[in-house]
Symmetry: C2
Subunit: 330 residues, 2 copies
DNA sequence: GCATTTTTTGCAAACGTTTACTAATTATGA
DNA sequence: TCATAATTAGTAAACGTTTGCAAAAAATGC
């Protein structure tokens, strides 16, 4: 049997209320008795029962981190940021992978609610309006991360995707490339739509006109990048530079280019988006837009704890700045 | 105020014991009343309080996963394996990064103990005897993963590092390489010592003699691989093939080789160890020994739950098989 | 040294469940 | 129809804490 506060009380000849007070270092217990109690607790190998405490204090010091997939190289840094910061404030974090399935997301969230976590950091799969039900219906504090919630009343921390797209394109333009293409998700729904928007904004600003045949909508997969560029090259009509919707696409694109006997960036320059760890390796050296992943996680944890501890009631909307990382691919 | 079982009882005109029974689908409540209760609970938006339940049932349906660093590409797959399997059995998992610091490991473990997790999966930093205190002193079930515990009485799931080292070396030998080197951690303490042992065993078995100048002890860092190979090449004395203690080292080694104008595998063949996601990319195509990371996590979760639910009392010692993945570097 | 204030301690309720035990109800068999 | 068995529902204790309130003890002031 694990030792409880009552066992200690008995052995120390005090009431268990006194033990509770002594152990929690509150005022109002004589030093002498506190010392004795602490000694006894120590000797008996006491570990406070957080469950019992949670029940009365209605606080568990746990939070949930709900993300699509920790195996996606984007998320470990975010998770690390969350965990590091949470731990600093005494919170533990539940890791929940949704595997990009709405049903799993829902299930995880309701499990977390049963576990009475103090709050949730959610990197949602989609950003559909109904998703925001969570934050209002249940009353668990939620911070959205990575993607903005549809509703205006929720807090979030995201990166400025549009600015990222702008930065990437601007860089390419300033490098003197005249024909620039985009491969990646299009506006509809996905956040990468904003990356595309930023790209278009740069075209606009610098007076270039978009050549639609070099703008290819698709998904986020490496294969897509590979296939798309191979197609372009085989048709004999390709741009001098390409902005890819994310690093995985960029890597696929580079692979395709090389396989066709062309060189990067001499024949085609490529800039990616995200700066996953892979991008920095000497074999890759991808020029890309860095998302502040760790900081995003840290920030989200910070905001969540702030909300939990009631220090703020207004929703906070944080938009982090992207950073252009110039390496060798563009 | 969140709705409790008592609120439901009042509205449904039954005692709250009945509500509890109805909601937990136990036998012993008339269908009619159960339906009514379920309907009321539904209508009131009831979410069971896992904390209260945990207090009486002495089970929280949470487990802890304690690893060095989720940002290390080895661990996400392990974590995913743990989480997927745990979830299947209704358990949630706390993610704890120790950052390779013993003090953080200890702290996390004692926090988990306070949270009354049902068990812990631990990828320890070191494998020193005193570490095993955990499993015995506290009575939380523990499964060691990645590294074996020093004590004989603990359960673990690891990979057969020695066999991995053997496989890698054997492959190199069979490819016809006569001078083979090793760069990586040495025997002292680290599990990679076993990799080296397997390497030596292969030398033995195939009648080759070890040339100590090609066996370089060090750590697990990419820079070490890079520096070491550069040194060898500059001295003008290097082996035809190298077995690296892990993939990061291997990547550093390859980079060094290429930078010195030599080619892989034509001048020097390299095989790594781990098969981190990076190794499979077309830019890298590293020949390596795959650790069954996902399976390790899954297996650990399986064993832990088995232990929690008391289906087994004997410690289980699982040693997974490595697999040689032949790509282009060796 | 005694009344008064302040500090320390104890008692008991509360947190939201589950569950043994008992009471009430319904079903069964003759 | 009635005794008995089987089923359903209710009472109350328990899980291990925290905390308001009251009682006891110690400290203070005169």
């Amino acid at each position: 049997m694990t030792v409880t506060i009552k066992d200690i009380a008995k052995k120390a000849n005090v009431s268990y209320a006194t033990v509770s007070r002594a152990l929690n270092a509150k005022y109002g217990v004589r030093d002498e008795t506190r010392d004795k109690i602490v000694a006894v607790a120590q000797a008996m190998g006491y570990t406070p029962n957080g469950i019992a405490r949670g029940l009365v204090k209605k606080q568990t010091y746990s939070i949930g981190l709900v993300i699509p997939d920790i195996t996606n190289p984007f998320f470990p840094a975010v998770a690390r940021g969350v965990e590091d910061h949470a731990k600093q404030f005494g919170y533990s974090v539940f890791l929940c992978n949704t595997n990009y399935e709405k049903s799993r997301e829902d299930h995880h969230i309701s499990l977390l609610a049963e576990k009475r976590v103090d709050g949730i950091i959610l990197a949602p799969i989609l950003n559909e309006p109904q998703d925001d039900a969570l934050g209002t219906e249940s009353n668990v504090p939620v911070i959205y991360v990575t993607k903005r919630p549809a509703s205006e009343t929720q807090s979030f921390v995201v990166m400025d995707d549009e600015r990222g797209g702008f930065l990437a394109t601007k860089y390419l333009i300033e490098q003197g490339y005249k024909t620039i293409g985009y491969i990646g998700p299009s506006k509809t729904g996905h956040d990468a739509g904003e990356r595309l928007a930023g790209c278009e904004a740069a075209f606009d600003k610098f007076g270039l006109t978009i050549q639609p045949r070099f703008f290819r909508a698709g998904d986020f997969k490496r294969e897509t990048g590979y296939d798309t560029i191979i197609g372009m090259i085989e048709e004999g009509d390709y741009p001098r530079a390409i902005f890819a919707g994310n690093d995985l696409l960029a890597i696929g694109i580079i692979q395709g280019i090389k396989e066709k006997g062309l060189s990067v960036p001499d024949d085609i320059a490529v800039v990616g988006f995200d700066d996953i760890p892979f991008a920095a390796f000497p074999e890759v050296r991808l020029t890309t837009i860095r998302q502040p992943k760790y900081e995003m996680g840290k920030m989200a944890a910070d905001m969540l704890i702030e909300k939990i501890e009631g220090r703020t009631q207004q929703p906070r909307r944080v938009i982090l700045e992207p950073e252009l990382i110039v390496r060798s691919s563009g």
